[in-house]
């Protein structure tokens, strides 16, 4: 059976690519610290030495639109072109083409539907920065085949938070039941508190640092019970109007396993949002893998 060698959850900040490549006066003052943190985080995936990446993200009204909106969608295609005109325009993101892994896509679709998730699928999917940002931060070579999985955290009505946790558990179990000798990393990106297009956007910190501290603790300890008791579709608006993206972190908590502490925890308090990086090694940390406890990585 396939082996899950790493479960990784992260924020996806579209400005990282531009900030990390900027030089001279263009380079923002926080860029060096950000690059150092991302470089250390990248080593957690490199050490796991995966063959395939399952990538969980959310389309930002690029290919998926209100005339035909799936809640959970799995890509099944030999290739995925990536990034969109408005992401080039606003964030300077490059165009990319990533290989797909159709056999694992087919397995997740068939077995996922049979396990109670009526998954939508796409045979021609152009992916956006929710999936390319972690490629850029964690695997800039972009040399591994992927299975993209999109969730709707964006266009209400949304699935309930517990469905995200359950889908994460299901994805983990489906990968582990795949008859293959390949090593798989499950990577997903979401948000902590975030406001976009509202009065609290682009402040000196994320819109709700208290929520961010609670959220980092829930994730780092994989405390799904308290997390599910603490959030609802109704109250996720309060920390910021785009905070429903936190449900993708909840999906990754489901994939990591209840009450399983992360092997690597790090955060970076940036303008606009808090960055957060987590890695779990289901088989224990591989040799040479960096580790960092919740106490070391939690926000001050």
């Amino acid at each position: 059976m396939a082996q899950v060698v790493a479960v990784i959850a992260s924020t996806h900040h579209p400005f990282y690519y531009k900030a990390s490549n900027a030089t001279g006066e263009e380079r923002p003052p926080f860029a060096d610290e950000w690059v150092e943190k991302v470089t250390n985080f990248r080593a957690t995936l490199t050490a796991a030495d995966p063959d395939v990446l399952v990538m969980v993200g959310s389309d930002h009204f690029h290919q998926l639109w209100l005339d035909n909106m799936p809640q959970f969608l799995v890509g099944k295609a030999p290739f995925y072109d990536a990034n969109w005109h408005n992401e080039e325009r606003e964030f300077g993101l490059p165009r990319m083409t990533l290989a797909g892994h159709e056999e694992l896509s087919a397995h997740i679709l068939r077995q996922g539907i049979d396990a109670g998730f009526d998954l939508a699928f796409s045979n021609e999917l152009r992916i956006d920065h929710s999936i390319t940002c972690p490629i850029i931060t964690l695997r800039p070579e972009a040399d591994l085949p992927i299975v993209p999985i999109y969730t709707n955290i964006f266009a209400p009505p949304l699935p309930q938070p517990h469905r995200f946790v359950e889908l994460g558990r299901t994805i983990r179990s489906l990968v582990e039941s795949w008859e293959s000798d390949l090593k798989v990393a499950i990577i997903g990106t979401g948000h902590l508190s975030l406001e976009l297009g509202g009065p609290r956007q682009f402040g000196p910190t994320g819109p709700d640092p208290d929520f961010d501290r609670r959220a980092v603790e829930w994730i780092a300890k994989c405390d799904t019970q308290n997390c599910l008791e603490g959030v609802s579709l109704e109250n996720l608006w309060e920390p910021g109007n785009a905070t429903h993206g936190f449900m993708d972190f909840m999906l990754m908590m489901g994939a990591a396993g209840d009450d399983t502490p992360a092997d690597y925890v790090d955060t970076l308090d940036l303008f606009h949002t808090m960055e957060a990086y987590f890695t779990w090694y289901p088989g224990g940390p591989p040799e040479g893998a960096p580790t960092r406890t919740y106490e070391q990585g939690a926000p001050a």
Partner: protein, 120 residues
């Protein structure tokens, strides 16, 4: 009131650099053209298979023509779509990094929770 149609305007204009430029320079012309040609297009279908029933209300048309993103927010247009398109239109006219985004936040400073319902 149709939040869906407002969102459809923002979505279809934002992804086309020519339409973004026309909306920046000649908003009344662009909005009228859009209502005639794209408002009823089911995206991804042939032109002979348009819908027959979609139309902007007067206050929606006015908000779009006046680039009034505060009113669009209050109407429940999707904040991500509104922000993305108006960054494309106004960011270059501000010298400071994030200058437009912070001005946008300031113009919405009167807004309290709960925000307008964005469900469609």
């Amino acid at each position: 009131m149709s939040k869906y149609l407002l969102n459809k305007f923002l979505f279809t204009v934002d992804r086309d650099p020519e339409l973004v430029a026309r909306y920046r320079d000649e908003p009344a012309e662009l909005v009228a053209w859009w209502e005639d040609t794209l408002a009823n297009r089911i995206l991804g279908t042939h032109t002979g298979e348009d819908s027959t029933w979609l139309a902007l209300a007067d206050d929606e048309r006015r908000a779009l023509v006046e680039h009034d993103y505060v009113t669009l927010f209050e109407m429940g247009a999707h904040p991500f779509l509104t922000l993305t398109l108006f960054i494309a239109i106004y960011e270059e006219s501000h010298d400071e990094p994030l200058g437009f985004q912070l001005e946008y936040a300031e113009k919405l400073a009167h807004v309290t929770l709960p925000h307008p319902d964005i469900s469609t």
